[in-house]
Amino acid sequence: MDFFVLMLAIPLVSGALLTVFGERAWAPNLNIIASLGTFLAAVGLTVEVVANGPRFAFGEQFFIDSLNVFFVALTAFVGLTTSIFSGPYMANEAAHGRLTKPRLRLYKSMYQLFMFTMLMALTTNNLGILWVAMEAATLTTVLLVSLYRTPASLEAAWKYFILCGVGIAQALFGTILLYFAAERVLGETGNALLWTHLVEVKGQLEPTVMALSFIFLLVGYGTKVGLAPLHNWLPDAHAEGPTPVSAVLSGLLLNVALYAILRCKVLADGAIHSDYAGNLMMGFGLFTLLLAAFFLSRQKDVKRMFAYSSIEHMGLITFAFGMGGAVANFAGLLHMTMHSLTKSAIFFAVGHATQKTGTQMMADIRGLIRINPLIGWGLMLGTLAILGMPPFGVFASEFMILTHAMKHFPWATPILLLALGVAFASIFGKVQPMVFGETEAKRLPHAPAITPVFLHLGIVLMLGLYIPPYLTRWFHEAARMLG
């Protein structure tokens, strides 16, 4: 059977199954097995695409090239590790009485459906379907964020829904404008929203329409990426949802939204013949980075703080893609990978830590390294990695972004460094006392899953020192595709 079909079908079917049978004892295992299946299918697909080049599926509705197959692989991988992590995590939540069985069922089914929507958004060739998948991803995660049904989680979910709903409505307007522009070139063949067709005629698209369209798309999908000042939903949703959800939100959903912007940027660049789209993205990126950095220093809730850190990194990545060019795009892609892996690892560690201590307030969490050295070290190393300390891979990409900026946009470098410096001081100053120090330990009913944390960190560490040649080739090709 086709790897691609498998990859989409497994989460969809298992999501449906879990909706029905989610309260059975084997349900958590099904969640993991389904994620594993998705991951294996994604690996198969990746191998296939890397070996044979881009391919279509379902007519021309789906298109897998080296750019999105990379996101697909990443998404499936983090999806797998998160499902592994969420097994004991959710069991502990249930044991603490924070979640009932129906909620657990909802969690698992929505998790699979969420994976499905993301994979669909990544692989679709149709920009309209992309929008639909993004909206669907919002809907599934709204349910996940409000899983605890506490006032705070409801508030967060409400804000998430409204803000992202409105945001994504702008993206739809942008898509319509894009279609409008495309139709004039491609005619009413129904192919006018297919990216592969659009990219062939991108030079003929009407620049004014494309500029307007890109504004709407950037604001729309940018809301989901968390670009300031459209980011306001993000810290709430991350802080109040269950930690596995925070991990996939930060690690995957933001990437997918950014991916959508990137696809559109290629078209806008082709049409406008100037750095218009790039400049907009650089502006947004820098502003986001700076704002998020200053947000960090006043955080009290650990998950909220790391949510802001995600905003910060998304700003940096947006800036990198805004700069454009092979090196910056490469660096951006690399940074996205590193951020996904590292941030989800951090959320895993944070999840266990908050469960152990029963609070998300950083002031009340102390001495993790005593409670459980692996969690403590995981959080510490993850934090250092996300802050861009070598030899972790985040540094590699930051190094490339910074050096590229120094070469082409020297004025931006001080801003970048100021933001990175402030972020370092804020985050590290708060995490260090959490990890170190004295505490009273408490045992959890279910042993935490630490493997994902160190698996992620191990990969990040390896990529900081050595990026295998095939990965480099793959990244290069993807970067070239972005122009």
């Binding site: 945001g167 702008q170 504004i215 809301t223 459209l230 006043r298 390294i369 050096t403 001081a425 006392p433």
Partner: protein, 669 residues
């Protein structure tokens, strides 16, 4: 035929250190295995590094490219004479520290021994990589790994809040410095995008950008070295760390920063401008003066040493500044003299400061006390440590015939022969700088007498000190090793200089060795014997001969009778340990003379106090003038920024609405 180049051997050594560290994780709680097997193994690797470095001095540079690194920028490595000098230091000094550490670490103190072993050896390996790195990425990776591993070492006893705070401050400033270094590298590539050092050398920078690169490097490496005003982490982190770690940081790690500064200013950035030297000189002088003044008023023995390290780094920076000035004016002979002084002081400081820090470690283990006010009289209980510490003290004060004097002597010589600079203004300022250097050296004497006298001499200030015990055999060996290095560096300057001269020649084109070879190995006369000379061995022999002869004569002509009795009590019955000077009391004259330099909080007893007491707290001005304002500023900005997140959804929607409107109205292509 398998032939290993020195650079390969060093790389293997770095890997060996990493492997030893990882072995520590195999049995993280097995203290015996780790301390008695792994640490000595690490010391052996250190010997290897030192010998290889020694052997490669004077040879042509060797390069290597590894497979790891960035796709377009794999790790480039290069072993040249400058790296070799510092690798020499990195090889031999840690031998003493590692052996000492084998006997030092105990059960149940902070981090598990296995983790500690990993951090320690990663620290060593990353320092070696810093020295070998030949491109910006490899350098930064090694540099930050060094910062990171040392941070974890500093926070070994992380249950104390002030140690955590110290660690945080340390890593923060290290990170800021690293950012600055990265920027400096960026400037030096000159937009060519070639981040190998070879590429930087090939760039011809305009004076403006060259200056920018130099100043950024000065800030970056200064943050690591502890140049004022980026020194604040140093007196916090050194006392916080376990003593072998403090020794390693102060003795070895600070030198990597000096290495970096030398590498950038003399190798990468191109021809220096004269005023760079003035900047370095001024910063160095302020640092040295600041360090020594604060070191005299400290009451914590490790803080005292930490400030003393700041002072020494300041002196090294003065030397670098002087070298830069001479080099810029093409007075290469004097530049070579100053450069040799810098390199020599790096070697010397590395050995004697490690020695002193290790001595504090032994004192700490024996007494559980770090505060000078609770020590005293330890020479009776710990004679080994006391006498070896004395060697460190004398070297650190810069007195003949030990190592510190040699470098200070050469530095002063360089100063003295500076007239003739083509810049009249400089001509005036440089000798005054020399006066300040002398002043610093003399004040260092005050600090060190205080350090030694209050810890080891006098009566025991606390009854618990009676149970103090001397260091164990491992520790003794470590101390003796470092003391031996100090002594050898002190009495064989000519031999050492003719080895390290290769680095000077590499950077400046000329060296001292030719002149030295004309004279005997026992004599150090960098210009000519008529102008200045110093023969430490003869010096030592003369004093020793007089001493022994005098003693023999006195015994022979008179007698050797000794009676023991109580000390003279001046007619006052109470002559307990409390009657001695306290640490605060000892430094009272300094506080009084240099009052404006300190930020002091004093409490004086009054006649009506039911429990009269005196207390004095000396704080750093920079903390209040520079760091707190910056922190407050960041906090204020962040207060403004967080107002954005007010919780009201309507406002959030308004943001996105306004963003959209602005983009539609303003940002049109």
């Amino acid at each position: 035929m398998l032939s290993l180049l020195p650079i390969d051997t060093l790389l293997i050594a770095a890997c060996a250190w990493l492997a030893i560290g990882l072995l520590g994780l195999v049995a993280p709680r097995n203290l015996r295995f780790i301390s008695k097997t792994l640490f000595p193994l690490g010391a052996l690797v250190g010997v290897l590094v030192g010998l290889v470095a020694l052997g490669s001095l004077g040879e042509a540079p060797e390069t290597a490219v590894l497979v790891i690194g960035l796709p377009d920028l794999p790790f480039h490595l290069r072993l040249d004479n400058l790296s070799a000098v510092f690798a020499l230091l990195l090889g031999f000094v840690p031998v003493g520290i590692s052996i000492y550490a084998a006997g030092y670490f105990r059960k149940g103190e902070g981090t598990a021994p296995g983790v500690l072993c990993l951090e320690y050896h990663v620290f060593l390996a990353s320092m070696l990589l810093v020295l070998l790195a030949d491109d910006a990425y490899a350098f930064m990776v090694a540099w930050e790994s060094m910062a990171l591993s040392s941070f974890f070492l500093v926070t070994t006893n992380h249950q104390h809040a002030e140690i955590r705070r110290a660690g945080f401050l340390y890593l923060l400033i290290a990170h800021v410095g690293a950012i600055s270094i990265l920027l400096s590298f960026g400037v030096m590539t000159g937009g060519a995008g070639d981040y190998t050092f070879a590429g930087m050398r090939a760039q011809q920078l305009s004076p403006f950008w060259a200056s920018a690169a130099f100043l950024l490097a000065l800030v970056g490496f200064g943050a690591k070295a502890g140049l004022v005003p980026l020194h604040v982490w140093l007196p916090e982190a050194h006392p916080a760390a376990p003593s072998p770690v403090s020794a390693m940081m102060s003795g070895v790690m600070l030198k990597t920063a000096i290495y970096g500064l030398l590498r950038v200013s003399f190798d990468l950035v191109g021809t220096p401008l004269w005023w760079w030297g003035v900047v370095a000189l001024a910063v160095g002088l302020v640092t040295a003066l600041f360090g020594v003044l604060y070191s005299t008023v400290q009451s914590d023995m490790k803080r005292l040493l930490a400030y003393s390290s700041i002072e020494n780094i300041g002196l090294i920076a003065v030397g670098i500044g002087l070298t830069l000035i001479f080099h810029a004016y093409r007075m290469e002979a004097l530049a070579a003299l100053a450069m040799t002084a810098v390199l020599y002081h790096c070697l010397a400081h590395s050995a004697f400061k490690s020695l002193l820090f290790l001595c504090t470690g032994s004192v700490l283990h024996a007494t559980k006390e770090r505060s000078l006010g609770k020590l005293g009289g330890l020479i009776h209980r710990m004679p080994w440590v006391a006498w070896l510490a004395l060697a460190g003290v004398i070297a650190s004060v810069g007195l003949p015939p030990l190592s510190g004097f040699v470098s200070e002597w050469m530095l002063l010589q360089a100063f003295l022969f500076s007239p003739g600079l083509p810049h009249p203004w400089l001509n005036m300022v440089v000798p005054v700088a020399a006066a300040l250097v002398v002043f610093v050296a003399a004040l260092a004497g005050f600090a060190m007498v205080k350090f030694y006298g209050i810890i080891f001499l006098g009566q025991m200030r606390e009854p618990g000190l009676k149970d103090a015990h001397d260091a164990g055999p491992w520790e003794k060996f470590g101390l003796a090793w470092l003391a031996l290095i100090t002594l050898l560096l002190g009495i064989l300057p000519s031999t050492v200089i003719s080895r390290i001269d290769a680095a000077t020649r590499q950077l400046l084109g000329t060296g001292l060795a030719d002149k030295l070879h004309e004279q005997g190995w026992w004599m150090l006369a960098p210009m000519s014997p008529e102008r200045a000379s110093y023969e430490p061995l003869i010096f030592l022999v003369t004093i020793a001969a007089t001493l022994l002869l005098g003693r023999w004569l006195v015994r022979h002509l008179y007698h050797g009778r000794v009676r023991r009795t109580a000390a003279w009590d001046c007619g006052y019955w109470f002559q307990g340990p409390r009657a001695q000077d306290t640490a605060e009391g000892f430094s009272q004259p300094i506080r009084r003379i240099f009052e404006p330099m300190f930020r002091m909080e004093r409490h004086f007893p009054t006649a009506r106090d039911s429990k009269p007491y005196y207390s004095v707290k000396v704080e750093d001005h920079f903390w209040h003038w520079l760091y707190l304002p910056v922190a407050r500023l960041v906090n204020a900005i962040s207060g403004l920024v967080t107002a954005v997140q007010g919780g009201r959804i309507a406002i959030y929607l308004l943001y996105s609405f306004i963003t959209l409107l602005i983009l539609l109205l303003v940002a049109r292509p």
